[in-house]
Symmetry: C2
Subunit: 400 residues, 2 copies
Amino acid sequence: MTCALFQPPLAAAIGVADVLTDLFLVLLAAKLGDELFKRIGQPALVGEILAGVAIGPSLLGLVEPGEVLEVFAELGVVFLLFWVGLETKIGELREVGRAALFVGGLGVVLPFAGGFAIGVVQGEETATSVFIAAALVATSVGITSAVLIDLGVLRTRAARTILGAAVVDDILAMILLAVAVGLAASGGVELGSLAVVVALALAFVAFFALGGTQLMQRRPQLLKEPRFSESPLLPAVILCLGLAALAAQIGLAAIIGAFLAGMMVAETKEQHPIEEEISPLYAFFPPFFFVFIGTEVDLGTLVDLGTLALLAAVTVVAAATKFVGAWLGARELGRRDALVVGAGMVPRGEVGIIVAGIGSTAGVIDAQLFAVIVGMSIATTLLVPPVLRRLVAPPEEAVA
Amino acid sequence: MTCALFQPPLAAAIGVADVLTDLFLVLLAAKLGDELFKRIGQPALVGEILAGVAIGPSLLGLVEPGEVLEVFAELGVVFLLFWVGLETKIGELREVGRAALFVGGLGVVLPFAGGFAIGVVQGEETATSVFIAAALVATSVGITSAVLIDLGVLRTRAARTILGAAVVDDILAMILLAVAVGLAASGGVELGSLAVVVALALAFVAFFALGGTQLMQRRPQLLKEPRFSESPLLPAVILCLGLAALAAQIGLAAIIGAFLAGMMVAETKEQHPIEEEISPLYAFFPPFFFVFIGTEVDLGTLVDLGTLALLAAVTVVAAATKFVGAWLGARELGRRDALVVGAGMVPRGEVGIIVAGIGSTAGVIDAQLFAVIVGMSIATTLLVPPVLRRLVAPPEEAVA
C-alpha cells in the first residue's frame, strides 16, 4: 500500500484535507494581518490584503487561488454588502439620490476617459484601450464599506452617497464592459441586446429597492413565518443569496443583489433585530475576500522598471480621475463630505481584477497590462483606508 | 457580441453566478424540506436529505454535486460536530469511557463480519468483500448528533456514550479502510506504516482531548487575547478549522478534529458563552451536508429487482449488526440507554459513501455495489431519526 501518512484514505476521496487546510490558512493569515495592523494602528483590511500577498503564489506560495477560495471570497463580499444593506434605509438613500447619481456618473466618465487616454498614449489598439478604460471604471464598494463600518460612520450622508453611487457605478460599469467585450470579440456592439441588458438591470434594482422594501415594510412578519427557523436569520440569508445570484445572472455584480436584500431586511428591523445573528457570518466570510485580493498580486511581473512606471501612471490616473469625478458630483454635500465621497470611491479592488481577467481571456490584455491593472486595483485599495480615516476623524484630531 | 443575457460579462469571469445560484438552491431546498417535515411532524434532517434527492441528478437535476458543494457539505458536518463538542465536557466523556470503548469496538466488529459475509455469499473476491465490510463499519455521528440536538438530549449519558464511541469507531474505521485499500492495491498490508498511522491518530486524539482541554481550563482567556476579534468567535473558528484540517491530514475524519476543538472551547464557557455566536454558522452550513448526502443517491441504478434485493439485504445486515454490537457494548448503561446507543450508532451517512467511492476508484467496487452502498447509507440514515425520537421520548409517551 502507499504510505497512508501522505495519502490519508478517508480524506483522499474528496481532497477535503487540502481544502480545509487552505481555508484554515487563509483565515489564520487574515487574522494575523488584522492583528498586526491593529497593533500598529493601521486599517485592519490592509493587513488582511497584505496577508494575502504574503501567503499567495508571489511570496510564500502557501495557498493557490482556486475555485473554492474564489467562492468564499465572493460570499465574503456578498455578506459584507448584505451587512451594509442592513444598515441602510431606502428612505435615507433617496435623500442623497441626486448626489449619488452625479457621483456615480462623473465617477465613471472621468476614469473611462483617463483609461482610454492611457491606452492611446501607449499606442494600444482601440479594443485594448477600451478595456483599460473599463477596468478603471468600477469602484469596489466592498473595500470602502469595510472602512466606513470600521470607522462607525456608515450612516452618515457621505457614506449613503457612496453606497447609492456604487449602484449607479456598477450599472454603468456593466454597460461599458459589455461594450468592451463586444469590441474585442467582433469589433462592434449590438445596441439592441445591450439595451435589453441595461433595461433588465434597471428593472431589477428598481423592483427590489422600491417594491421589495415596501413589501417588507407592510409585512415584516414574512421573515418569521417559516417554521424551519426560530429566527429570521435563515430566511434573510436565503433572500440574500437569491438576490445575489439573480443579480449575477443578469450581469450585475452579485453584491448589488446582496445590498438590495439587506435593505429589504432592514425594513423589518423594528420587529426583530437581525444584525446580531448576521454578525458571525459577517465575521467569518469577508476575510476570505480581502486575502483573495492579495493572492491575485503577481510581484514577479512587477519587477521591471517599465512596468512599474506604467503601474504608477495608471494608478495616479485611476485615483485622480475617480476622486475628481466623484468629488465634483458630491459638491452639493459641502466641502468635507465631497472629499470623503471622492476618496471613498477610489478603491477598485476586485472589480478591476475581474475586468482585466476578461480582457486577458479575450486576448486584448497582455500579461504586463494584466499585472498593471491588478497592481492598480490593489494600490488604490491600499491607499484609501488611511486617507478616509483621516478625513472622517473629528477635525481637531485630523489636524493634530 | 454574444448575448449578454446568457453570458453576463462580469459574472462570467469566475462562474460566480452559477455557484451562487447552486448555493441558493441548495439552502432553499433544504429549508423547504425542513419546513415540510416539521409541518407533518417528522424529523427535519430527513426532509433536508430528501430535498437533496429531489434537486439532485436523480430527479430534478437542478444541482450537480461538485467540489464547491462538497466543501460546503464538509464544513456543514465540521460545524455540526464543533457544536456538539461545545456541548461536551471532557470530564463527562470520561465517565462513559469504558462503555464508549465497548460500543465503538463491538459496533465495528459485527458490521465488519456482516459485510464480509455478504461479499462471500455473493461470490465476490476478497478485496471486494473487505471493501463492503469497511463500508459497513463507520457510523455517521453527524446524523445522530443532529437528531440528539433536535431532541434536546445531547448531554444525556447515552448521547455522550455515542459521541465517545464515534471517536473509537472512526479510528477503527480508518485502520480497516487502510487495510482494504492495501488489499485492493497490492494484495497485502504493510503493518509498519499502518502502525504509524494508528499511533499518530491515537496521539492526536489524546493530545487535544487531554492536553488541549487542560490548556483551556487553565488559560481560558487565550481565546479573548487577540485584538482582531472582540469576541472569542473567530479564534474558536480558527481552532476548529485547524484541528479539522489536521485530523484530515493524518487520515482521521475532519469532524474528529472539529469535535475536539469544540471540547477545548467548551472548557472556557464560564468565561464567555460562545454558543450564541456559533449558532448562525451552525444554522448556515449543516443544511449543505444533508442536501449533499441526498444528491449522491442514484435512483436510476436502483430500478432493478436484483439490486433492490441486495440493497435490502445489505441495509438489514448493516442496521442489525451495528445495532446489536453497539447495544451489547452499552449494556452496562441499562436497558433503555443501551437501546438508544444501539439505534444511535446505526446511521452510516457520508462515511459509507466515501468508502464506496474509494473502492470504486480502486476498481473493486462496481457501479451496482456502489449504488447499493450509497443506498444503504441513506436508508440507515433515514431510518434512525424516527426510531431515536420514540426511544428518547418520555416512557409514557413512547408507550402511547
